[in-house]
């Protein structure tokens, strides 16, 4: 009823009406089930509803809702009536049906009664039949029992002879089976004399049998399976298992030890004849195969022994296994020096593969783990070996370069250029690295049995190959290169400057491209899955860059020193007080310019030009202008006038205020101009300091003037900022003027003429 009422369209209407009222009252749409004013809600309270209506609605709406409500109530009433009628009809038809059912049941009851009487009769008959057959059945059962017993007795009586026969024929298995069957019975009836006799006979025969079996077992020539059979029979005869398994293992040991000593003989003191692959093969089939058989037979035979037996076997396997491993390691150690990785990897693969079978059988002995460990160790050692050979290759390259640099140049024929040498070194190292990677990669090949071990998947790739081999090599390369910077022979003789330059370029190339290339190559070949931290490319690059910078700085120092020494000697050894009026530029200055040009060419082979400060279009004129009269006046003319000695300092100080401080041995950048600037700075600063330590005569000063002008003419083109050369040379001349009791500078035009004459 309720459901129908709810589903009634009129109720829907009522609901809709109420909803509208709700909206009109500003209430949220969507009925609240607990709302007492919800007409269709379970908690509808008419009083509250009415109250609400009365309070909230105006009269007209109240009237409307009243008529509406009346109409709806009427409709509901008529609906209810229809429903009552329909239900009444259904009730009447149900009453009819029940009446009919009552009749049918009465009929069924009669038939059931009849069935019960029939069943009783059948039971009666059946009981009578079984009573008649009972007697005969019992007799048959007894006869059958007697028959069986007789057969057993017959077997027992015949047992001794049968056993003898079996033993004679060698059918030990049969004999043991017979004995096993009879033993319990004989045991039970041994108080009867006849059975006792049989039992005694049997025991004698059995003893003989056991003895024979043992004999056969001890002879032991017939191999593991037959031995195993013997042991099985002996066990069945009730021999003590403990003793048997000891004996079994002792036998097995004898055989396996033979294998081991055969292997050891192969190892020998002399260089091994068979290669490592053959060796591991032989070891695998001989020793490991034997061990497998023994283990399998043992586990089958002595399974009943429980954990103690298993432990005994494990200890046995462990002991022999460790001796085998020692042999294998000795053999592998002989391989370490070799260069052929593929053979070694194949041998290791065989070795590892063979040991998986006993490993599975004898998990407790830890053979597989030990084997994996050996393989890992060998792999590590190989990595170390490769690193060493890479380092050796690098050093070899360097020696080659040294030789090429030191080789006397045949006149007219240039030796290999620096760029060519650099390319040679780079390609040779790269090919060495690639070869090493390729041969190490064999360890992780899919078909190799140990490649899926966690070590080879993770640590070997990341820590071993990437970090240990590649990163280690790059680091050691940088170190080797850096060691040239602080070699004890600081006088610069030890390392040819060209080598420094070449190494610096090499390191720079590594920084820009090669390192990331090599590491990408490595990461691709060895899909590094390990999460352990690895050295990022940027760190390595920074190291390489630092190395390159140090090498280049050292190069600058060495070359600067060479030129400085020349200048210093020339200043220190000359008697400046009594020198003659300058006619020429001194030879040493020409030499300086020549050497600088040579260095410029050398650096130019490997390094780019670099940027200079923008030059005025008219450089040569500007260089001259430094010595033009106006500048000269301002610069050191006042120092001749005795009235104002302070002015010199003041002027030079003021001038210095406006020029930047010159860092003489400052780090250089990777370009030719910067390198040359560094060298020239060092040289000119040396010249300055040397000049300050001497005293000059008038012509000495003029000679310095000429020399400086000459340097000015030729050096500006090498440096980044020609102002620097001006400043330093200015200072040299100014210092020389200060160190001269009689400073009369040469006419600039004369200076120029002398310099142009060369």
């Amino acid at each position: 009823m309720q459901e129908r009422f709810m589903g009634d369209p009129s109720s829907c209407e009522l609901k809709g009406c109420w909803a509208k009222e709700g909206e009109a009252a500003g209430r949220p749409v969507g009925p609240d089930p607990l709302d007492p004013t919800d007409l269709n809600g379970a908690h509808f309270d008419p009083e509250v509803y009415l109250d609400k209506l009365r309070r909230e609605c105006p009269l007209a709406q109240l009237m409307d809702s009243e008529t509406d409500m009346v109409r709806q109530i009427r409709a509901l009433d008529s609906d209810m009536q229809t429903l009552v009628y329909e239900n009444y009809n259904k009730f009447i038809s149900a009453t009819d049906t029940i009446r009919k059912m009552k009749n049918d049941f009465r009929k069924m009851e009669d038939e059931m009664d009849r069935l019960a009487t029939n069943m009783a009769v059948i039971t009666d008959f059946s009981a009578r039949i079984s009573a008649t057959l009972q007697d005969r059945h019992e007799r048959i059962t007894k006869l059958a029992g007697v028959h069986a017993l007789l057969r057993k007795l017959q077997f027992l009586f015949e047992l001794p002879s049968r056993l003898t026969k079996c033993v004679e024929l060698g059918a030990y298995g049969q004999a043991v089976r017979y004995q096993g069957r009879a033993r319990a019975v004989l045991q039970q009836y041994q108080h009867l004399p006849s059975f006792r006799a049989i039992q005694d006979d049997c025991q004698v025969i059995t003893a003989r049998l056991a003895q024979q079996l043992r004999q056969r077992f001890r002879e032991g020539g017939s191999g593991a399976p037959e031995q195993a059979e013997c042991v099985e029979l002996l066990l069945a005869l009730g021999e003590p298992a403990e003793e048997l398994c000891e004996e079994f293992l002792a036998h097995a040991r004898g055989r396996l030890e033979e294998e081991l000593s055969a292997l050891e003989a192969e190892l020998g003191p002399s260089p091994p004849a068979p290669d490592v692959l053959e060796f591991t093969d032989r070891g695998g089939s001989g020793f490991v195969g034997g061990l497998c058989q023994v283990a399998a037979a043992y586990q089958e035979l002595f399974a009943a022994q429980g954990p103690a037996g298993a432990e005994k076997l494990a200890a046995f396997a462990r002991e022999l296994g460790s001796r085998y491993f020692a042999l294998v390691e000795r053999r592998l150690a002989q391989e370490q020096g070799g260069s052929d990785n593929s053979l070694l990897v194949r041998a290791l693969d065989r070795f590892h593969r063979r040991l998986r079978a006993p490993g599975a059988l004898l998990a407790a002995a830890g053979l597989a783990e030990a084997a994996t460990e050996i393989v890992e160790r060998v792999a590590r050692e190989r990595l170390g070996h490769h690193l060493q050979s890479l380092q050796a290759a690098f050093l070899g390259c360097l020696t080659d370069v040294r030789q090429a640099l030191a080789a006397p140049r045949i006149a007219g024929k240039e030796g290999p250029g620096l760029a060519e040498l650099l390319a040679n070194v780079a390609t040779s190292i790269l090919s060495h690295i690639k070869a090493s990677l390729a041969s190490v990669h064999l360890f992780t090949a899919k078909e190799v049995s140990f490649s899926n071990k966690p070590y080879f998947r993770g640590e070997f790739c990341s820590q071993g190959v990437r970090e240990g081999l590649i990163v280690g090599f790059i680091r050691s390369m940088c170190q080797t290169a850096q060691s040239f910077c602080d070699s004890p022979g600081e006088k610069g003789g030890a390392t040819p400057p060209a080598l420094l330059l070449l190494l610096s370029r090499l390191c720079l190339d590594y920084e820009t491209a090669t390192i990331s290339y090599i590491l990408t190559l490595t990461d691709e070949q060895f899909l590094v899955q390990d999460q352990s931290p690895v050295t990022p490319v940027s760190t390595l690059c920074a190291e390489a860059r630092e190395t390159a910078r140090r090498l280049l700085t050292h190069y600058v120092k060495v070359q600067g020193l060479v030129i400085s020494q020349m200048l210093r000697k020339s200043v220190e050894t000359r008697d400046w007080l009594s020198s003659l009026e300058p006619r020429n530029v001194r030879a040493v200055m020409k030499r300086v310019v020549e050497d600088t040009t040579a260095i410029d060419v050398q650096v130019g082979l490997l390094y780019e030009e670099g940027v200079r400060k923008a030059q005025s279009s008219d450089s040569s004129k500007r260089t001259f202008s430094v010595y033009s009269s106006s500048r000269q006046q301002g610069r050191y003319a006042p120092s001749y006038t005795p009235s104002a000695p302070m002015d010199t300092n003041l002027l030079s100080n003021i001038q210095k205020l406006f020029s930047e401080r010159i860092d003489v041995f400052s780090p250089v950048e990777f370009n030719k101009v910067s390198v040359l600037t560094g060298i020239i700075k060092i040289s000119l600063k040396t010249l300055l300091e040397c000049v300050r330590l001497r005293t000059f005569g008038r012509f000495g000063l003029q000679q310095v003037q000429v020399d400086c002008h000459f340097l000015q003419l030729y050096l500006w083109r090498f440096v980044a900022d020609e102002e620097l050369v001006h400043l330093l040379l200015d200072e040299v001349v100014a210092s020389a003027a200060l160190r001269c009791p009689d400073p009369v500078p040469m006419e600039p035009s004369v200076v120029e003429v002398i310099c142009e004459r060369g």
């Binding site: 600081e490 006088k491 020193l561 007080l577 009594s578 005795p642 000695p645 302070m646 300092n649 030079s652 100080n653 210095k656 205020l657 401080r661 860092d663 003489v664 041995f665 400052s666 600063k685 300091e689 300050r692 005293t695 005569g697 200060l738 160190r739 001269c740 009791p741």
Partner: protein, 387 residues
């Protein structure tokens, strides 16, 4: 006292020679010798007034020639020795002489600087330190802690030991040693060790450093190739035996143990040009000053090789006003060698730097353009060392 700013004093002439007045223990006083070829050279006596941060100067004339090296007697405030250039007949000779300052100047600067300039007093010559062979004298060193009677001078390849007699008015050549070898060997500098009752002297020639025993005048050790290039200066650690510092044209400062001369104990490479001067602080020998022609003076803390054990106070009678602060903050981390400060007040090459004799926290540096800068050890460091 509140201000750590450097005090700068300008000389009219170029100058290379600087020494503290070693015998003076109350006033902070430096002597500077000038280099001028055209005018009379001067010795400036620079008094630094620590309270007021003021410099007082007195000028003495040194008419003999331009001064290349100067050293003050450790016993007599008024006595000093100079090496000077004498130009005669287009020849330059470097001589050495012992001088006495005029008596009225000794107590130090009552006169105002303006007055001092006009009636300059001259030095009184006591004696010449000249060798018959007439080599150029590079350096004169007084016996430290002595009575001011013994002096060594280095002339070309000769090491000469003088006895000054009759209040220094006469110099007697006590003994000498010569450096023999191929080529023109020339001593560049020398230093008298304050240890072993002042029987050891170290000298430098070219790249080698040699030690001499003054009793026998024989060589006791030799550091061949101490530096890659010329050795410019030496100094002994005043508080720790066998410790020697050297510097040179390879821009490095090296610290040696003279018992094991194959390897330097430490090497500093902070300067970017030749290092001309290296000086240990007299009281706190972890403080090392270096001067270089890159126009910088660098103060380094070489705590790891100093005589001062970490956390222990060596010099406590110097600054008693800090006494009450000492118990706190003893637990510092072990000392690290480091550069404490780089002083960039100079515009030209700095050829000399010296600690004041009277105040262990004060030093002066002199650059070629005649600029003298008086600086102090940073206060934070001073307290860290003291407390």
């Amino acid at each position: 006292m509140e201000d750590d700013a450097p005090v700068i004093y300008g000389l009219e002439f170029q100058a290379r020679a600087l020494t503290p007045q070693t015998a003076e223990t109350d006033a902070i006083r430096f002597l500077v010798g000038t280099q001028s070829l055209k005018y009379d050279n001067q010795i400036h006596i620079i008094d630094f007034d620590d309270e007021n941060n003021i410099i007082n100067k007195n000028v003495l004339l040194h008419r003999a020639g331009e001064i290349w090296h100067i050293s003050a007697s450790p016993a007599d405030k008024g006595v000093l020795a100079t090496c000077y250039n004498k130009t005669a007949d287009s020849k330059v000779l470097t001589c050495a002489a012992v001088w006495r300052m005029p008596a009225e100047l000794e107590p130090g600067g009552h006169e105002s600087p303006e007055d001092a300039a006009s009636p300059a007093h001259a030095l009184e010559l006591l004696c010449h330190l000249d060798h018959p062979a007439r080599g150029s004298t590079a350096c004169v060193a007084w016996e430290p802690a002595g009575d001011g009677k013994r002096v060594i001078s280095l002339a070309d390849n000769h090491l000469l030991l003088w006895d000054l007699q009759e209040s220094s008015s006469q110099a007697l050549l006590a003994s000498s040693a010569s450096l023999e070898g191929k080529g023109q060997l020339k001593f560049t500098t020398g230093r008298w060790s304050p240890h072993h009752s002042c029987t050891q002297v170290a000298t430098a020639n070219d790249t080698a450093v040699r030690g001499w025993d003054t009793r026998t005048m024989s060589q006791i050790y030799c550091i061949e190739n101490a530096h890659g290039q010329l050795v410019r200066d030496l100094d002994f650690n005043p508080n720790k035996q066998y410790c020697l510092a050297s510097c040179g044209d390879d821009c490095r400062v090296k610290f040696w143990d003279t018992r094991k001369v194959t390897e330097p104990v430490r090497t500093l490479e902070e300067h970017s040009h030749w290092v001309w001067n290296v000086r240990y602080n007299h009281s706190h020998d972890q403080l090392v000053l270096t001067a270089s022609s890159d126009s910088r003076v660098i103060l380094s803390n070489m705590a790891s090789i100093s005589s001062e054990p970490f956390g222990h106070l060596v010099d406590d009678d110097d600054l008693s006003d800090q006494e009450e602060r000492r118990p706190e903050e003893k637990s510092q981390e072990p000392p690290q060698d480091s550069v404490i400060a780089t002083y960039e007040e100079h515009e030209d090459s700095v050829y000399a730097v010296e600690w004041a004799a009277a105040d262990p926290w004060l030093f002066a540096s002199l650059s070629y353009d005649g600029r003298l800068v008086v600086n102090r050890v940073p206060r934070a460091l001073k307290y860290r060392i003291l407390l």
